[in-house]
């Protein structure tokens, strides 16, 4: 297990993440909090402010003492605790094992990213759990904020063997049903499946009150299609085959992938989901940094 931790969090990576930490702190106050400084208001011990009641507010939040004094309805607002439960949902279908000429497959890239996020959450005392799925959810770790949680998460991920088909939608529905508290769900997948059910599942997850970050991880070859000449492609999950003239098909393919990503981006935007398109040629620490900064700016 220790080995697994070292594999994914070797000194260079940790150094990068530590640097990320320092840089994040420099950019916003408390980068570690920056991940989810958050929209959760309600049950908390720390008073935040009073606000005039507006139709739709929960009447139980009305501060009757203020009403007695002012004869006006005010809502009592509290600052939620910054601790939030995060779940790393990782797609381990066969397609995630693919890489053309990058050192990391999509799964490796996702695990590295997830490990970094896990490390961040645990270091700010946030509980972090793990959900591994392909056609269905087949492994999970409950969210904990202990330092040993990182090792446990990585231990599970290191044992993951990508195989079989993927059913992201079904898995997300399962996750939505499984998580009883509102959580931060970080999904790592290539989304290479029928998009409509996935969209529905994402909306359902969002509807249950979870904050969702969708890391759409594609291989560099899947984005740029660098093949030449006549190539016989085999789809690793369905084992379909297709012979194409790569040079002739490139333009069409790249446009299709861009439209596919744009479709997801638009859907996620409307649903309030953070959509992070990535490919395995991007340095994941830089990708993570950019995402976190942009997220912090939004809140």
């Amino acid at each position: 297990m220790v080995r697994a931790v070292e594999e994914y969090l070797k000194p260079e990576v940790v150094r990068q993440i530590a640097r990320l930490d320092l840089r994040a702190q420099f950019i916003v106050k408390g980068f570690l909090q920056g991940l989810h400084a958050s929209p959760y208001q309600g049950f908390s011990v720390e008073f935040s402010e009073h606000r005039r009641y507006a139709p739709g507010d929960d009447p139980k939040d009305i501060d009757w003492l203020v009403y007695a004094k002012t004869d006006k309805h005010y809502i009592k607002k509290f600052e939620a605790e910054t601790n939030i439960t995060g779940y790393l949902a990782i797609d381990t279908s066969a397609s995630m094992a693919y890489t053309y000429r990058q050192r990391l497959s999509k799964l490796d890239y996702s695990i590295s990213l997830a490990a970094a996020l896990c490390w961040l959450m645990v270091h700010q005392q946030d509980p972090c759990g793990l959900l591994v799925f392909d056609e269905k959810l087949h492994a999970s770790l409950p969210a904990r904020s202990k330092r040993s949680q990182i090792a446990q998460v990585l231990s599970v991920l290191a044992k993951v063997k990508p195989s079989g088909k993927t059913d992201i939608a079904r898995s997300l529905v399962q996750i939505a049903a499984m998580l009883r508290h509102r959580s931060l769900v970080m999904i790592f997948s290539d989304l290479l499946a029928d998009p409509d059910p996935i969209r529905d599942a994402l909306l359902r997850l969002r509807h249950r009150g979870h904050d969702v970050i969708l890391f759409h991880v594609l291989d560099e070859a899947e984005v740029k299609f660098p093949f030449q000449g006549m190539v016989e492609f085999t789809e690793p999950e369905a084992l379909d085959q297709l012979v194409v003239d790569a040079d002739a098909a490139r333009g069409e393919y790249v446009a299709s992938v861009a439209a596919f990503r744009e479709d997801y981006r638009r859907t996620c935007f409307h649903a309030g989901i953070d959509y992070v398109p990535l490919d395995t040629s991007m340095q994941f620490d830089r990708a993570l940094m950019e995402y976190l900064v942009s997220r912090r700016n939004r809140f």
Binding site: R3, A97, R101, Q102, M230, A248, Y253, F260
Partner: protein
């Protein structure tokens, strides 16, 4: 121009185009196999992509077939040549060597004549001919064109070629060569034309028409012309009047030209003496301008009566000897006896003519051309005509038929008659008797009147011998100062050949400004009748004078005209100056001479026959330029005549044709070899053709390159360039080893390698 193959058997190799078809079908290379999860994005374009692939396959197949076919074609060594399909590069040929042997080919440059240069190249060419070839050597001397028995005999014939007076043009010699080659249709036929590419050789010729008419015969021109000739040339000598009266000076004009830098060089006139030696009579220093023509005039006086021959010669030597000398012959005679018949009063009416042809001053000095006797025309028959060589009828009235008949007989015997028509003719109906028309060659019709001074003699050209004397003055003759107010309209007889083949119609020699004939010539037997349609019988003060020809201010044109017409009419018209190679005809006054001898310029004597019926001697062997002497009857009581033969100016015109003129003469695409190497090249080109293998191999290489590009575009290398496929489980150990040279370099921004991880199950 045709396509042939040196190794046609190898064309069978073209059948190998079937190989790529079979290979294409049997061993179609498989595409590179790769895993790719995002296949969904390719599916909807799969059909179009498949069609494109099929087209690409077809293109690849065609390229490979083309490459093989082109290689087979290249190995068959296709050649392009004018020889047709049957030619065999090593087989015997039928060749005609046409060599220009005109004297200009003796031009020396680089210590050899053009002819020697041609002979050397010709012998080199013969040495390269296949041994059993048929070879003919055709030159421009006009010999019979025939194949030599052997190639060696042809070489001997080449050795014997010498510059000679041409009797054929080079184009005519080519035509003879083509005719000869037509007798051997089964062989590969070649013609080689050795030429100096000069104006003299090709002016007015159209050899490209000949070659175009024989496309199956290979033709190569060999240029042996001089590039920088150094030559002084006397192109011609103009003798103004080769029949001179005793005491009359001989006027000579030599036309010159120069090739090379400006220089000064003397020209001399030498007369041939009775001892057969030339004596110098005049010499002039001439300035020769480069590329320019010039004229040098001489006047030789004191010539004794008789046939006098001479030459105009260049002092010193130059590159071409043949044009350094020109020959001439004149006949100096004692004054010819002529009868001038004029109407009464003859002294008045015949005075102008008498003064013109035999001025009293010259008569007294014994230098007059003519010994003239004035006679009343009414008494014409009263005097015997036998002693006279010519007669002038001044303004004759209608004469009796008998008189005209006598005149006809007299003129036909070789005498001369000049008739100045005038007012005495009066009634055209009476004047135009058949006998008169027979003598004059036509009839008078009416009198034309031009009251103002608008009409005068206006000869269109000065070509006729009657007018030759005016050439020295040219357009400066003031004919307009001597208006002609009246003249007879003379209508020549119908121009039908007579029974004896002689012309019965007079021929206009010169006309008035109004276009009507002024001077007419009519040949009658061996004699000549000259008719002038306006008179010179009237005095200056006569208000009814028909003209002022003889009465105007300084009437020298009339004096010349009177002399020249009379001279021409009594001239025996011997050919005293002929072109070398053309026959010279000499007339004999005596019919008792049966044979004569001709002495050639080389000093040889040979007999010639006399045409007793015509009283002429025709000398045909005049190829050698020089002075020829004809003798008969011994030194006493015999006759002596002579003539000169000169080369035609084209035979010595060495001026080189310009490149455009050469192209126009030989036609586009001609083969013109100037050196041995070029000749070998052109011969090879004609006999073997231009090999196209190089070009075809280039095309084959292009097809192969196209194949390579297309193949590489569609098929990745089979074994070694397989990109790393996706790992199926986490990290593979290979992922962390240093990249091999075949592995594509990491993309920029690739994260650093992570530590190796064991298999999950391990």
């Amino acid at each position: 121009m045709g396509l042939s193959f040196l190794t046609p058997m190898l064309l069978a190799g073209a059948a190998l185009v079937a190989v790529p078809v079979v290979l294409h079908l049997l061993m179609k290379r498989r595409p590179v196999k790769l895993d790719f999860p995002a296949l969904r994005f390719l599916r909807h374009k799969a059909a179009a992509n498949r069609r494109q692939l099929r087209l690409s396959h077809l293109l690849l197949l065609l390229l490979r077939m083309a490459a093989l076919a082109l290689l087979a074609l290249a190995l068959a060594r296709p050649t392009l040549r004018g020889a047709g399909w049957l030619a065999d590069g090593e087989g015997p040929v039928a060749a005609v060597l046409v060599v220009d042997t005109a004297p200009r080919m003796l031009l020396v440059e680089a210590n050899e004549t053009r002819l020697e240069n041609a002979a050397a190249l010709a012998k080199m060419l013969l040495a390269k001919l296949p041994p059993t070839s048929q070879v003919a050597v055709v030159d421009t001397t006009g010999g019979i064109a025939t194949f030599s028995p052997t190639v060696a005999a042809a070489a001997t014939r080449i050795d014997r070629l010498a510059g000679a007076t041409p009797s054929l043009t080079l184009a005519a010699a080519m035509a003879a060569g083509y005719k000869l080659l037509a007798t051997v249709p089964d062989r590969h036929r070649e013609m080689y034309v050795f030429t100096d590419c000069s104006h003299g050789a090709w002016d007015g010729q159209a050899p490209q028409e000949l070659s175009a008419a024989h496309p199956d015969i290979s033709l190569v021109y060999i240029d042996v012309g001089a590039r920088n000739p150094q030559n002084f040339a006397i192109d011609s000598v103009d003798v103004t009047g080769d029949l001179l009266a005793a005491g009359t000076p001989l006027a000579l004009t030599a036309a010159t030209s120069r090739a090379g830098p400006d220089a000064n060089r003397d020209i001399a006139v030498e007369m041939l003496g009775d001892d057969g030696r030339y004596t110098r009579r005049a010499i002039k220093r001439c300035s020769w301008k480069s590329g320019a023509v010039g004229q040098v005039a001489f006047e030789i006086s004191g010539l004794e009566p008789g046939v006098r021959q001479g030459r105009v010669i260049l002092e010193g030597s130059d590159a071409l000897e043949a044009d350094n000398v020109r020959y001439f012959t004149v006949e100096v005679g004692s004054p010819a006896r002529v009868l001038v018949a004029a109407p009464a009063p003859a002294q008045a009416t015949g005075r102008c003519v008498m003064q013109a042809i035999a001025p009293a001053s010259l008569r007294k000095a014994g230098k007059a051309r003519f010994e003239a006797t004035l006679q009343d025309v009414a008494q014409l028959e009263a005097v015997p005509w036998d002693g006279y060589e010519g007669m002038v009828l001044v303004d004759p009235p209608p004469l009796p038929v008998r008189t005209w008949d006598l005149l006809w007989q007299w003129v036909a015997g070789g005498k001369g008659l000049v008739v100045w028509l005038g007012p005495q003719a009066a009634d055209a109906g009476r004047f135009n008797s058949d006998a008169a028309q027979k003598v004059l060659g036509g009839k008078i019709v009416r009198v034309w009147r031009s009251p103002d001074d608008a009409n005068f003699l206006a000869p269109a050209s000065l070509d006729h011998p009657v007018l030759a004397a005016f050439r020295r003055v040219g357009d400066a003759v003031p004919w307009q100062d001597f208006p002609v107010h009246r003249h007879w309209e003379f209508q020549p007889n119908e121009a039908a050949p007579g029974a004896a083949g002689e012309a019965v119609a007079a021929i206009p020699v010169a006309a008035y400004r109004n276009g009507l004939p002024a001077i007419l010539e009519h040949r009658v037997g061996q004699g000549t009748v000259i008719t002038i349609t306006t008179p010179v019988s009237q005095s200056a003060g006569d208000p009814a004078a028909w003209n002022t020809l003889a009465t105007g201010f300084e009437p020298w044109p009339f004096v010349m005209l009177a002399n020249e017409t009379l001279l021409h009419s009594i001239d025996t018209a011997d050919d005293r100056n002929v072109l070398a190679g053309t026959p010279a005809v000499m007339h004999l006054e005596r019919r008792d001479i049966a044979s004569a001898f001709v002495r050639t310029p080389a000093g040889d004597d040979f007999p010639v026959a006399v045409d007793q019926r015509r009283g002429t001697i025709t000398v045909t062997a005049t190829q050698m330029p020089g002075n020829y002497v004809l003798r008969s009857g011994g030194a006493v009581g015999g006759i002596t005549k002579g003539f000169s033969a000169n080369l035609v100016s084209a035979a010595t015109d060495t001026l080189r044709l310009s490149e455009p003129a050469l192209a126009a003469t030989f036609g586009e695409g001609r083969k013109l070899a100037a050196t041995e190497a070029e000749l070998v090249r052109d011969v090879k080109l004609e006999r073997v053709g231009t090999e196209l293998s190089g070009w075809i191999i280039l095309l084959a290489a292009a097809a192969m390159a196209g194949d390579w590009i297309v193949a590489n575009r569609f098929y990745a290398p089979r074994d070694d360039a397989q990109p790393p496929t996706a790992t199926t489980a986490g990290f593979s150990p290979a992922a962390v080893v240093p990249p091999s040279p075949r592995t594509p370099p990491p993309l920029p921004g690739t994260p650093p390698p992570l530590p190796t991880m064991e298999e999950v199950g391990a």
